[in-house]
């Protein structure tokens, strides 16, 4: 196809952002608009340059990368853990986790709570305090387009769905053979007898 480069006015900016791992979502109004209108041309151009432009129906664009550097692996793990810890946190609060995830502003207190709840996991990724969590995770989420700043607080954006999708793929993990929630009780009594 014929790509009219003059028409892709935001090309430099878009390529720079996407190639550094940024996720363009609807809040990046100008870039989003540009990608939305000329999706085909951008997609073809980036494919020719060796990058796969992906559009998600929930409102974000990103480059599909199948090899991430080791360092990015760690960052992505931190994002995953933080997202799941937030889901757990909101569910325990009695809120619908999916809605709360995108609606509730994430404050320092919330970060401190999830850190405390999942300390032994965050610890493995060298996050030891809410300040660490803010610096290592939330600020990076800003940089990669997973969150936006709301004053002192953070708000998650639609690219977080990438982690929720991954979460939905873990069904098989929970299946341990011969396990059921009702059975543990009988064994309590057994043990008490011993």
């Amino acid at each position: 196809m014929q790509i009219e480069l003059e028409q892709l006015t935001q090309l430099a900016e878009i390529h720079k952002k996407l190639s550094t791992g940024y996720h363009v979502s609807e809040q990046d109004f100008a870039l989003w608009q540009e990608l939305d209108t000329n999706e085909e041309a951008y997609s073809a151009l980036f494919t020719a340059l060796g990058n796969q432009l992906k559009r998600d129906s929930r409102g974000y664009f990103h480059f599909d990368v199948d090899d991430a550097t080791v360092n990015m692996g760690k960052i992505s793990r931190l994002f995953a853990l933080t997202t799941y810890a937030l889901v757990e946190f909101f569910a325990d609060q009695g809120q619908d986790p999916l809605r709360a995830l995108f609606e509730v502003e994430i404050s320092h207190e919330i970060l401190a709570s999830i850190l405390q709840q999942q300390y032994h996991l965050f610890e493995q990724l060298e996050v030891f305090s809410a300040t660490d969590l803010k610096r290592e995770v939330m600020n990076r989420m800003l940089r990669y387009g997973f969150a936006k700043a709301q004053g002192e607080h953070f708000k998650l954006l639609s690219p977080v769905y990438r982690y929720l999708d991954a979460l939905m793929a873990v069904d098989q993990l929970a299946e341990f053979p011969g396990e059921s929630s009702t059975s543990s009780f009988t064994s309590n009594q057994e043990q008490a007898d011993v």
Binding site: T20, G21, G50, F63, V65, D66, D67, A68, T69, N71, M72, G73, S76, R77, F79, A80, L81, Y84, A85, E88, F90, A91, D92, Q93, G94, Q95, P97, L98, Y119, H120, L121, E123, Q124, L125, Y144, R162, Y163, L164, A166, M168, A169, V170, D171, L173, A174, F176, P177, G178, E179, S180, S181, T182, S184, F185, T186, S187, N188, Q191, A192, V194
Partner: protein, 451 residues
């Protein structure tokens, strides 16, 4: 592991070791029957290692009841498909022989050796919740030992003191073990309740959790309440230990017992702290379920299941495959990232050679190969041949392929050579050499030289 926030980093290894020792010491009390052969620890460990997946499955099943020898064989067959039926039978026999599996009384059904079961539960962090009684009885024992220690100290009976200190130390470690084990058990209960995907009513789903709260958390909270006997015994014990230590410091008597006493006191204070923190954490995770606040959606259920999995199996292997990947600054700036190399290789697959017309080589002719004649030789041959014609014409005739510049050089040299006796003519002569036309006053030999 759960030794974070303890503030005592040196402890876990020793307490781990002790836990193992305690766990393995159980069968001696448990199996009152006398056996003719000794249990070989190494062989049992080897057994556990060889049949770990089988045993892990059996641990899961053992909460449901006993199983048959055929079940075990079927499991071994499933995990080692290469085995012949004879091998499977032998392996199942081996588990039985080493008492990893134990037959139930008056039945052909089997169950896991209690010690093995608890050991595996300890390793997989799937403890079963103990009772308050476990902790209570140790505390009472500590109280009793306190009296004995005091009596021994009063009579200055060193060996008895030593014995009581060791026993008290043991009790304290056991209490700590129970606190930790029960915290882990509550985590396990909560995780299971949260991740359970069966369509149970809330009351049913959380029944185990509720019971854990009522049967364990509440009583333990009451027990360690500031006005409860637990605190009094702890304070009394700490007071007594401090007094003993002070006494040793002042009198210098029983100096060798000071160190164990200090250790015991530290461990005692730690025990208190660990117990409180474990309880706080347990209450934190139980509360949302007890209050029926917890929102159960597909996502929250999966999040719980995953976090539980990470807690038990470690972070790296699971998240590794799971997390989405995105590129990094590093990738942008590094030229040889795998992505680029892959696409380059992919392009190589489609590579087709293209005929490219190289430019024709320009024929340099023979000039390049011509040997420039030596001046002395030329001079000699000029003299010998008595070239008495025009010098330039003779040169052109003798060396027809010589480049013009070389020719002119020779011409000039020869013209100056005294041996040739040349004279310069007035008239012009013209000759063509390799496409150049030269016009010059030719040198010819003088009349005398010719003769």
């Amino acid at each position: 592991m759960h030794y974070w926030r303890d503030g005592i980093l040196a402890l876990p290894t020793t307490s781990h070791y002790l836990q193992l020792v305690i766990l393995w010491s159980i069968p001696i009390n448990f199996l009152t029957k006398s056996y003719e052969f000794m249990l070989s620890a190494k062989k049992i460990i080897k057994c556990l290692d060889d049949h770990w997946p089988v045993l892990e499955t059996l641990v899961g099943r053992s909460t449901l009841g006993s199983f048959s020898f055929q079940d075990v064989q079927a499991l071994i067959q499933r995990h080692s498909p290469g085995f012949s039926s004879e091998q499977v039978f032998r392996e199942a026999q081996r588990l039985l022989h080493h008492e990893v599996l134990i037959p139930l009384a008056k039945s052909s059904q089997l169950e896991l050796n209690r010690a093995v079961l608890e050991f595996i539960q300890f390793l997989t962090q799937e403890h079963q919740l103990g009772t308050v009684g476990d902790i209570q009885s140790r505390i009472e024992d500590l109280d009793r030992l306190r009296g004995k220690l005091k009596a021994a100290a009063d009579t200055k009976d060193v060996s008895e003191m030593r014995r009581f200190i060791r026993l008290m130390d043991e009790r304290v470690r056991e209490v700590v073990k129970h606190f930790r084990k029960n915290e882990s058990a509550i985590m396990h209960l909560v995780e299971k309740a949260k991740a359970d995907d069966t369509k149970l009513s809330l009351a049913k789903r959380y029944s185990a959790v509720m019971e854990a709260f009522d049967e364990y958390i509440e009583p333990v909270l009451q027990m360690i309440d500031i006005n409860a006997p637990f605190q009094h015994s702890m304070q009394a014990l700490e007071h007594q230990l401090s007094e003993l230590i002070l006494n040793i410091e002042q009198t210098g008597f029983l100096q060798s017992e000071k160190e164990p006493l200090v250790q015991l006191r530290t461990r005692l204070l730690d025990m208190n702290q660990i117990g409180r923190e474990a309880l706080i954490r347990s209450t934190d995770v139980l509360m949302p379920l007890r209050e029926e606040l917890r929102k159960n959606t597909l996502i929250s259920r999966n999040a719980s299941a995953l976090l539980a999995h990470l807690r038990k199996k470690g972070l790296e292997p699971t998240l590794e495959q799971l997390v989405p990947k995105f590129s990094s600054d590093h990738q942008k700036f590094s030229l040889g990232s795998a992505n680029q190399i892959t696409s380059y290789m992919a392009e190589l697959v489609d590579f087709q050679d293209e005929a490219y017309q190289m430019p024709e080589q320009v024929d340099p002719g023979d000039n390049a190969n011509i040997r420039v004649p030596d001046l002395a030789e030329v001079l000699k041959s000029a003299r010998v041949q008595k070239a008495n014609t025009d010098l330039s014409k003779w040169l052109a005739k003798s060396y027809p392929q010589l480049p013009v510049d070389e020719l002119l050089f020779l011409y000039q040299e020869l013209s100056r050579a005294p041996t040739l006796k040349l004279q310069h003519l007035e008239q012009y002569s013209t000759l063509e050499v390799n496409g150049y036309r030269l016009t010059l006053h030719p040198f010819v030999p003088t009349a005398t030289s010719g003769t």
